[in-house]
């Protein structure tokens, strides 16, 4: 069985959007099986067409950061998501957060699975690496 890598994402800002994808895509490229569980404010990162912003007052600097990243050849959020799917990264939406935030399955990017905490913990319990991004 491939080494498993599980992450929980609980914040929805730009930095918290990119980090799990950078980690996840790298891990998947290393042959690891990757599972990312989005909960609370992290959930909005899985909504179709979302454009995450930097947190707090940094929010207004988001465009500038994206431009800088483009100059450095760092792929944007959408591109990273596409890559993650190609690499077989698994995305999960927390079922409770969905009710809490009024998010429906059809709002979420294709391929997202709705999951409860137990199932995710079951996956995480047999995981070599677990990270919390929040």
């Amino acid at each position: 069985m491939a080494d498993r890598f599980c992450m929980v994402v609980s914040e929805g800002s730009f930095d918290k959007a990119m980090m799990p994808l950078i980690m996840g895509n790298t891990a998947a490229s290393m042959g690891m099986e990757v599972h990312v569980f989005y909960t609370f404010f992290g959930l909005k990162l899985l909504k179709k067409g979302v454009k995450p912003k930097l947190p707090g007052l940094w929010r207004i600097g988001t465009g500038m950061m994206i431009k800088k990243m483009m100059k450095l050849n760092v792929p944007g959020y959408e591109e990273m998501l596409k890559q993650a799917k190609e690499l077989g990264v698994n995305f999960y939406a927390c079922s409770t957060s969905m009710s809490l935030m009024g998010v429906k399955q059809e709002d979420l990017i294709d391929g997202t699975k709705v999951l409860g905490a137990s199932k995710f913990l079951d996956l995480a319990a047999d995981s070599k690496v677990t990270l919390f991004i929040g």
């Binding site: 080494d3 950078i22 895509n25 790298t26 998947a28 490229s29 290393m30 042959g31 690891m32 450095l72 050849n73 760092v74 792929p75 890559q83 690499l87």
Partner: protein
């Protein structure tokens, strides 16, 4: 060093060289040697770690100014 294919990942930042490397190895056969060229400082340790994890063999590593060259034999 002898090689069967080259992947030029210059100008790409972490994790792109590794992501492209993982894609590239799917095109190669066991025993073939891939040359990977990168200029992201992270690649220096990332590529050996990737080899260690995936089981492909790092048979050579060179550093020329800011450019790294890796030679990887497919498992």
């Amino acid at each position: 060093m002898e090689k069967d294919a080259t992947l030029d990942a210059k100008g790409l930042m972490c994790p792109m060289p590794i992501v492209q490397l993982a894609k590239k190895v799917k095109e190669l056969k066991s025993g073939q040697v891939l040359e990977l060229i990168a200029d992201d400082v992270g690649a220096k340790d990332d590529v050996p770690a990737w080899c260690h994890r995936t089981g492909h063999q790092l048979v050579g590593q060179e550093e020329e100014g800011k450019v790294f060259r890796f030679y990887i034999r497919m498992k």
